[in-house]
């Protein structure tokens, strides 16, 4: 039976400053699950997480139990790294999660570290999150003082678990897991080629699991109540609840933990009070700006991971009109659930200006390592800017599609796709608005709507 609205796990302690204290967390049963987990075997915990259908909440939605099982069984010196580098535009859940409930993250990490045989573990937190960094450092200190972290944790007499909060310094790319590992090692945050995958050769050359904040915060619930219970909260291959961040033109933006089965239309109208100022809906970005947008006819689809990939009500992304983008082997791209960052825009929005801002972001954040991304994001930024400024040239729209198609699939990391997919996605869904901006060199001398 899928969760109902009101079933909340990771956000249940939101809103009360007292909650982040260890005494308050313990009074609510905190750290009991971690203590009980210490007597379970690694396999028992990994099997429970596999059964839970927990999928990574950072963007890719990869099954967490499967990721954990890639770590070789006889491995020593394993590391668990929590990715708290939340920077995908439109995404604001992890920052809130660590601020309101840092001990739930620590408890989840203790259990995960036990299941992975990891001793030295790290939380990589984004540099700009200064308030949250202070909260996390304090919570980790409290957990050490209480014996939940350290050499012989929870009276086990043998198990060691260390957590170090590692602060970044401003670089979107460090949210990519191998760039994050390079940054943790004291290098420029540029992604690594895969394979080898981090589970085999990750941090300091050792097997490493990188998990998102929200993913790890679900672990105590799974270990306490069982994988099947968690799987039943969700639907299909996606267990648990979904924490979404709704921003943009709605009456009540916010971070909401909801059933996987809720549709975007229900989310906007029933949870967020509808489109603001009585205006009409135009479109939304479903999971951070790197995901192709959805138009009015496509929002009766649930926010669940697989639905966004396969639901035929969502039009496939095109390179140019009538030519679908090929993800490899003829696979179509609709969209993806991504990071849960949902940005809604109303009917008065200039989508060309919106796309231009997105391309400006990816251009700024490209690490410069791969030519298609370094050069291509710059070209898309430049062309989008001139379209938005009323200086678009005939042929610009087709050129944008071609550039995006040339980036996707040709770079070391997914930042290439993160820029190319929304470019092609916005062109697919709002092509006429882009074409209307091709004013320079047009035979009829139409100046178009410049602003």
């Amino acid at each position: 039976m899928p969760a109902e609205i009101g079933t909340v796990l990771v956000t249940r302690r939101f809103g009360d400053e007292e909650n982040k204290k260890i005494t308050s967390y313990e009074a609510q049963g905190g750290y009991k699950v971690a203590r009980a987990a210490m007597v379970k075997t690694r396999e028992e915990i990994v099997d429970e997480v596999k059964a839970s259908n927990l999928r990574g909440r950072g963007g890719a939605g990869f099954p967490t139990g499967l990721k954990w099982s890639f770590v070789p069984k006889d491995a020593t010196d394993v590391h668990l790294v929590v990715n708290c580098d939340e920077s995908e535009p439109g995404t604001c859940k992890d920052r809130e999660l660590v601020y309101w409930d840092p001990h739930l993250l620590i408890e989840g990490m203790i259990i995960a570290a036990h299941a992975l045989g990891a001793v030295h573990n790290y939380i990589y937190i984004r540099g700009e999150m200064m308030r949250e960094y202070a909260v996390l450092v304090k919570a980790v200190e409290e957990a050490y003082a209480r014996g939940y972290l350290g050499e012989k944790i929870m009276g086990s007499g043998k198990q060691a678990c260390h957590i170090t909060v590692h602060r970044g310094a401003g670089a979107y790319i460090c949210g990519e897991e191998t760039a994050l590992l390079n940054s943790l090692e004291g290098l420029r945050g540029q992604p690594r080629l895969k394979p080898p995958f981090p589970a085999i050769k990750g941090l300091f050359g050792k097997p490493t699991v990188v998990n998102n904040v929200e993913t790890i915060m679900n672990i105590p619930f799974i270990v306490e109540k069982g994988g099947q219970w968690f799987a039943d909260l969700g639907v299909g291959r996606s267990g648990g609840t979904r924490t979404v961040c709704v921003s943009g033109h709605v009456e009540k933006p916010g971070v909401y933990e909801l059933p996987m089965t809720i549709t975007f239309r229900e989310l906007i109208n029933d949870i967020c009070g509808g489109v603001w100022k009585g205006r009409k809906f135009k479109g939304l970005i479903p999971g951070g700006t790197s995901m192709p947008p959805l138009g009015e006819s496509e929002i009766d689809v649930p926010v669940e991971f697989d639905a966004l990939v396969t639901d035929e009500r969502i039009k496939p992304v095109e390179v140019t009109e009538g030519v679908n983008f090929d993800m490899g082997g003829g696979r179509e791209l609709r969209t993806m659930a991504g990071s849960g960052g949902i940005v809604v825009f109303d009917d008065q929005t200039d989508v060309v200006a919106l796309t231009s801002r997105i391309m400006g972001f990816y251009h700024h954040e490209s690490c410069g390592q791969c030519t298609p991304c370094r050069e291509g994001t710059g070209w898309m930024d430049k062309i989008c800017k001139r379209l938005a400024n009323g200086e678009g040239k005939v042929g610009d729209v087709e050129l944008l599609g071609n550039i995006a198609n040339g980036i996707a699939g040709n770079t070391i990391c997914a930042l290439g796709e993160a820029a190319a997919w929304p470019m092609m996605g916005f062109l697919t869904k709002f092509r006429s608005e882009f074409l209307a901006r091709e004013t320079v060199g047009k035979a009829d001398g139409n100046e178009g709507e410049a602003a």
Binding site: E86, S87, E88, P89, G90, T91, C92, D94, R95, H120, R126, G127, E128, M129, M130, R131, Y133, A134, H162, T164, H166, R167, G168, A169, G170, A171, Y172, S183, L184, E185, G186, L187, R188, G189, F204, C245, V246, S247, G248, H249, P253, G254, V255, I285, T289, G341, V343, F345, T349, L354, R357, I358, F361, H364, E365
Partner: protein, 165 residues
């Protein structure tokens, strides 16, 4: 070498060395501390960090210039980071940026002794857009007419980013 880390910074670094297999991973923490103690990461500060962590100055320079929060030149006491990315843009982020620029007489990227004005990428506060962050202090759901009040508050309550280094 003329520059030296304070005893407080040195002891913080020594605690961190224990958490990693070598000194190199401590570089971001060392650069944050160096920026706190010396105001910016000019060449002699880069050299100091290299000496301290047994790394070449070239390596330290490469890392320091990759990350946007590190500055090579002096800046204001409080960095005002104003988000204009999509969620903030849709709710008036550019108007907020313009209001700060006008009030402080600084364009984005410019500084005086008190303030630096920085156009920031998504701050992960999208549900409360437009958002502005100054050190550990967030200003949420900001409107241009609140900017005077925010600036006056920051003048009497500076929020340097070094407060958490």
């Amino acid at each position: 070498m003329s520059l030296k880390f304070s005893d407080e910074a040195t002891s913080k670094l020594e605690v961190l060395y224990e958490r990693y297999p070598s000194k190199q991973p401590v570089i971001l923490a060392a650069l944050h501390l160096a920026q706190k103690e010396f105001g910016d990461l000019r060449d002699e500060v880069i050299d100091l960090v290299g000496e301290t962590l047994d790394l070449s100055s070239a390596h330290v320079y490469g890392v320091a210039t990759f990350y946007t929060m590190f500055r090579r030149k002096p800046g204001g006491k409080t960095s005002v980071r104003i988000c204009t990315n999509v969620a903030c843009m849709l709710r008036g982020g550019y108007d907020v940026l313009a209001a700060f620029e006008e009030k402080l007489g600084l364009k984005k990227g410019e500084s005086n002794d008190e303030f630096s004005v920085i156009e920031e990428e998504c701050l992960a506060a999208c549900a409360n857009a437009p958002a502005v962050v100054c050190g550990t202090k967030y200003f949420l759901d900001v409107t241009p007419d609140q900017v005077d009040e925010i600036v006056e508050f920051l003048k009497s309550n500076p929020h340097p980013e070094s407060e958490v280094a």
